[in-house]
């Protein structure tokens, strides 16, 4: 492809938020008809940059040119009008509306909202091989299909420049290949793709050009043929990326968590967790691999007692958990790093020390002992111990390197990585026997990521049993002693993390190699 003008040019883009500079002096030129990757670690400022390019935020300084013309983008509508479309990391779809309604929303003027629009959607779907059915409800679609709806949404509006924000985060390797096939198709049709990622292998395989962002600014632009993944990592974080790996095995034969024939049904009676049996031993990290939405969340909630069991038994050591309230389970020694820390892990508007109490309301140092209680045992009192948990919060902040001026600031004012470190520190308190870690390093910077992995390794050596759920296959393979695969609520396979590759794991996750051990 040889076009004279670059499709997009960004010069000197700077964006400040209260107290922080998210972007400064960003310079990027994206040639038309290419796949241009923008890489950087979590928190480097990629998303802010893309929001600026899509008109969702306005830069404080700098210029944007589209096809050689300087533009001011005040809203997504402006961006759409200039032929820029965006596929968001978190899908922007309304579950209760049909695919058709989701696609035509905001672009009703193009082909109406009825038959003409339906025909046009089928046309585009066929042209790019997207396989999208206009009359399905979005809530009935899987992750991959939703992403294709998102891409179709953008194409429907006649976009010439597509921004894809971390599109592979929720996909298995096979789906990633599929997506890359779609992207190459788009490129052949003359479209420009801006691809944001922090996964270096993927970037090297699909991009024509790679721009690296670090701490809010562009540090280099390279061609994939000229660099290795390792060099790219150095550019991205200034050092090597932390590697998820376990050293010698610490697995014992003392079972900590035993699940036997556990089944959970949703309101419609469908089994979302279907006859799951597994055992986690002291010193063992058991990883659950699976495409998101295959019952991982429900499995976790069943163990935590947030969902009732339809059948089966769950035991912690010798204690039967079935029917026990969530609080009693936590008291029995379960720590919980939830998947969505904002919804399930923190009181965002409360100070850090109040967040220390959360999930540990009945245990020292948060409550004063009841009169009958001794120094360690006994029933918890009804009063909270402000001094106790304040000083313990100080301990967590110190030991887990939570970067904060003091413990009186609200949880919302910390960065994602520091929030997550606070949660990890809290959940490791009171000596848990079992830790449920759902996506423990999602959306955190590499520093926090490597720290969290260190804590997991350390706790495992001390005999902690860990249930690890992650969409990051490298993390899953590197950090697990045992791997199980979940598909449609069933455990369909077991894999040896020492030998399996992400590709193989991916086919297990999609059911291609159902039942067989890799």
């Amino acid at each position: 492809m040889s076009t004279t003008e670059p499709a997009v040019e960004l010069h000197g883009i700077t964006k400040r938020f209260p107290g922080v500079v998210a972007n400064h002096d960003i310079d990027i030129e994206v040639a038309a008809g290419t796949v241009h990757a923008i890489v950087g670690e979590n928190g480097a400022g990629k998303s802010t940059l893309m929001k600026i390019l899509y008109g969702m935020q306005r830069p404080d300084e700098g210029t944007i040119k589209v096809a050689g013309v300087e533009v001011a983008l005040h809203s997504p509508s402006d961006a759409i009008a200039r032929g820029i479309g965006m596929v968001h990391q978190h899908f922007m779809l309304a579950d209760n509306l049909s695919v058709l309604e989701n696609v035509v929303l905001g672009a009703e003027k193009l082909h109406g909202i009825g038959g003409r629009a339906r025909r046009r959607i089928r046309e585009i779907s066929d042209q790019y091989g997207l396989g999208v059915e206009p009359d399905r409800l979005v809530e009935q679609l899987g992750v991959g299909a939703r992403q294709r709806v998102e891409i179709l949404k953008v194409l429907y509006r006649g976009a010439k420049i597509l921004i894809l924000d971390e599109p592979t985060a929720v996909l298995v390797p096979q789906e990633v290949e599929e997506l890359f096939g779609n992207l190459r198709e788009l490129k052949r049709e003359g479209l420009t793709v801006i691809f944001i990622s922090h996964k270096l292998d993927e970037v090297l395989s699909v991009a024509d050009t790679i721009t690296v962002i670090r701490r809010g600014t562009t540090v280099d632009t390279v061609r994939p043929g000229d660099v290795t993944a390792r060099q790219l990592a150095e550019l991205m974080v200034g050092s090597e990326l932390p590697v998820p790996e376990l050293r010698e095995s610490t697995v014992t034969d003392v079972p900590v968590l035993t699940m036997d024939g556990v089944t959970v049904r949703d309101a419609t009676g469908r089994a979302v967790v279907d006859d799951v049996s597994l055992t986690i031993h002291e010193g063992e990290i058991l990883g659950i691999a699976g495409v998101e939405g295959n019952g991982q969340a429900e499995l976790v909630e069943a163990i935590m007692g947030m969902l009732p069991l339809d059948a089966g038994v769950i035991r912690l050591g010798d204690t039967e958990l079935t029917g026990m309230a969530t609080r009693r389970r936590r008291e029995a020694g379960i720590g919980f790093i939830p998947e969505d820390r904002h919804r399930h892990g923190l009181l965002l508007e409360s100070p850090l020390w109040e967040n220390r109490i959360l999930g540990h309301q009945t245990r020292p140092p948060n409550v004063k002992r009841g009169r009958r209680g001794g120094a360690t045992g006994g029933k918890a009192g009804v009063l909270i111990d402000r001094q106790g948990f304040r000083s313990d919060t100080e301990r967590i902040v110190r030991d887990y390197d939570v970067r904060t001026p003091n413990i009186d600031v609200t949880a919302a004012s910390l960065s994602g990585g520091n929030q997550q470190k606070l949660i990890v520190g809290r959940e490791m308190s009171n000596d848990p026997k079992l830790l449920i870690a759902a996506h423990p390093t999602r959306g955190v910077d590499v520093g926090a990521q490597s720290a969290i992995w260190d804590h997991l390794r350390h706790a495992r050596a001390e005999g902690l049993a860990v249930l690890l759920i992650s969409a990051d296959l490298d993390e899953l393979i590197g950090m697990s002693d045992t791997l199980r695969v979940i598909l449609r609520g069933r455990l369909v396979g077991e894999a040896d993390p020492a030998t399996i590759t992400p590709d193989q794991l991916g086919s297990l996750m999609t059911g291609a190699g159902e039942g067989s051990a890799a």
Partner: protein, 418 residues
């Protein structure tokens, strides 16, 4: 292509067809049950044209509130303030019609007053992100104060007016479908099974109609058309389902929510107009009497869809009509129906092996039946509140498989998506 279909695909072709059939079956079933009840108990008011006419009339204000609630909540804004907006509507209708002498200007006045209440709610919830229920409650506290002050200021010096009521207002003309009233009326007097009941139903619905009633009925399909068949409606509903997604596609979320809540207030205002000018001949303080809230219940009962919402309004209108017209006897007869209905529910639940629910239903059912057989009439003081009791019962016993808009009641800030 890798298909990751993790959810059982629910076929949605024929879904609407089935829904329509179900509505017809349920409606017909209820009507037959009412006829039987009339035969058993001899309370002719259960299906009389008077009751049916009153049902329609009383369903209008509740239905307007319910439609208003639906508009607002479809855009994601919970509207507890409907009660207050209806109050504004009653006063606005009185003010405009009395001082102009024209009932149609009264309609306009009520709509505007209700819409102003809606606007206030929109400013608080959409622009300032105040909790929707807090803002709604505040409006419900505001409305009686404002109307009392204004009445004191404007109505006390008028003949027949005062701080708590307006002077008599001009009335709307009423329309009847010609050639229906007389023959059906005589048919009805015979108390023949089914024939007389149907005559009562038809006569009640087709005679002495006020234009506001017609307007109210018309607004049901109009709401459906606007919300489900136009681009505007799609945009509005998308704000109630996923406002962040809507914004990312260039939908002006604030503008949509403002429109929805103002329309919601205007609809509640029409309900107020009806109360002040059709159901009664002047504005009176406390006239709304909880109908805004009952409307919300009708909306929930109707699963946020216009047809079902209208059905819910009809149900509550019927109980209201029955207590007004049939009084203690007819409502007492209803106990039999409720008792038998609950027993049937208990059997169904037992069949589905939901033991606890079945036991509770049985106990309540037996209690109601015992009450029916041991008494001849219900206390007048309690009967007055039968619409409210019905609301509670319906919400407690109706199926809870409801689908409210996904982002209903959530605070949304422009650019809030990450």
């Amino acid at each position: 292509m890798i298909e990751q279909e993790i959810r059982t695909p629910a076929p949605d072709t024929g879904d609407r067809e089935r829904r329509r059939t179900r509505v017809l079956v349920v409606g017909g079933g209820i009507f037959v049950a009412l006829i039987l009840l009339r035969l058993i108990t001899g309370e002719s008011d259960i299906t009389s044209s008077g009751t049916m006419g009153a049902t329609l009339a009383l369903a209008v204000p509740i239905g307007m509130a319910a439609l208003g609630g639906m508009w607002s909540e479809r855009s994601g804004v919970i509207n507890i303030g409907l009660e207050g907006m209806m109050t504004f509507g009653t006063w606005g209708a009185a003010f405009a019609s009395y001082f102009s002498g024209n009932p149609w200007l009264g309609l306009l006045g009520g709509i505007v007053a209700g819409a102003v209440g809606g606007l206030l709610h929109a400013v608080a919830t959409v622009t300032f992100g105040v909790d929707h229920i807090v803002s709604g409650v505040a409006i419900n506290i505001l409305a009686p104060g404002v109307t009392r002050y204004l009445s004191d200021l404007l109505f006390t010096d008028e003949k027949g007016g005062g701080a708590t009521q307006s002077p008599p207002l001009p009335s709307f003309p009423t329309w009847s479908v010609p050639g229906v009233g007389k023959p059906l009326g005589s048919l009805e007097k015979h108390h023949w099974i089914l024939v007389s009941d149907l005559a009562g139903l038809v006569r009640g619905v087709l005679t002495d109609l006020s234009p506001i009633t017609l307007l109210g009925i018309l607004l049901v399909p109009v709401s459906y058309y606007l919300l489900w068949r136009t681009a505007f409606g799609l945009r509005l509903r998308s704000c109630g389902e996923n406002p962040v997604a809507a914004e990312s596609l260039g939908v002006k979320v604030y503008r949509m929510k403002y429109s929805a809540v103002v329309i919601s207030g205007a609809l509640a205002g029409i309900g107020g107009v009806f109360l002040a000018m059709v159901a009664s001949s002047n504005y009176q303080e406390g006239q709304v009497n909880g109908r805004g809230y009952i409307g919300l219940a009708a909306m929930i009962f109707g699963n946020w869809r216009p047809g079902m919402v209208a059905g819910g309004a009809g149900l509550f209108g019927y109980t209201d009509a029955l207590q007004l017209r049939g009084g203690a006897g007819a409502v007492h007869a209803m106990l039999l129906l409720i008792g038998i209905g609950l027993l049937a529910l208990a059997v169904w639940r037992g069949y589905r092996r939901r033991v606890l629910a079945a036991v509770i239903s049985t106990v309540v059912a037996v209690g109601v039946l015992v009450w029916f057989f041991l008494t001849d009439a219900l206390p007048r003081e309690i009967v007055t509140y039968s619409p409210h009791i019905t609301t509670l019962l319906v919400l407690a016993f109706a199926a809870q498989r409801l689908r409210m808009p996904a982002a209903d009641g959530m605070r949304y800030r422009r650019g809030g998506g990450h």
